[in-house]
Subunit: 168 residues, 2 copies
DNA sequence: GTTATTGCAAATGATTTGCACAAGG
DNA sequence: CCTTGTGCAAATCATTTGCAATAAC
């Protein structure tokens, strides 16, 4: 699954940074390292928690600023999962055109790629007089747990309880 | 385009209200009247402005509470257009399964329905082991203005400038 | 050195909520 | 009446920002 290494990402970011006249910092390196060491989606807050568990430091401000930088450099995408916090997806470097299926009950997210839906997307877009650009399709559905047990609140609970409670 | 009248919506809401042991109020009537008198998408703030231009009154608090009520009664849908403010779509009573195409430059939104994409959506969902539920597909693209003039900032500007500026 | 970056604390802004008063049924 | 709804102002909470100190290059 991991075709692009962290070193590749760092290279790309450094290129971007140089082109823009910006600077490489230990905070940015640490954040990139952390984000791209897994393929998990995350919120700013979840990432902040993860950083605090390492021996690197970065303030929330720096974290938010770095997230914006990575999105601008097209290394990270903001995806709309609904909810109050923005969610970030680090997998677009590996899989430039994937989409998301979301359980409307528990919030579980599955990534998928499908040629047919891309073609159809393209057709619909042109038919409406638009020019196809960024592919971004979100399907809402019910996951297995919901199907078999009638309900699956585990994940939604954990997502709700992840609200920030004065964690400095 | 308008197959469902405001009276129908009022009836549905009143049924919902009775079933829940809630109460019909002039504020709720006025808000419903206003929302369903057009097929425009809107934000809470835009709706508040519209209300102030009528001779009915409703506070922001009541407005937010009524929006939640309407969403719960399935007469109104929250749609994700990105951006800080939630957007509401009053057209799901008329067209229960439509989707949205959005210009990534100016934010212009077009509704569409397509049987093929619904079927495909269904297939993908089942293939991933989910049960199809709410159809909600958002396609991002570039609109005509962008195509012909290279850029179309009109709407995005107006959307940005619609940020609330101490309008009591 | 010069300019970008950081961390802090304060600001922002949409939405929510507590509470006292008003008003449906 | 009794309970729900309303309006106000205050609270929330994710995110952004001003600013002085710090660190790339």
């Amino acid at each position: 699954m991991e075709n692009v290494s962290i070193a590749d990402i760092q290279d790309k970011l450094n290129g971007f940074i140089k082109r823009k006249g910006l600077r490489r910092t230990p905070q940015r390196d640490a954040i990139v390292e952390l984000i791209f060491s897994t393929d998990e989606h995350f919120t700013a807050d979840e990432l902040y928690d993860r950083i605090r568990r390492t021996n690197s430091t970065a303030s929330r401000a720096t974290l938010y600023r770095t997230l914006s930088l990575l999105v601008e450099a097209d290394l990270l995408h903001e995806i709309d999962l609904g909810g109050d916090q923005k969610t970030y997806d680090p997998n677009f470097v590996d899989s430039p055109s994937h989409n998301h299926l979301i359980c409307i009950d528990c919030g579980k997210v599955v990534e998928f790629a499908d040629d047919n839906i891309e073609i159809l997307n393209d057709c619909i877009t042109r038919r409406l007089g638009f020019r196809p650009a960024k592919q971004s399709i979100r399907i809402e559905a019910c996951c297995e747990t919901l199907r078999s047990k009638g309900i699956c609140q585990d994940l939604i609970k954990s997502r709700l309880s992840s609200k920030r409670i004065n964690k400095k």
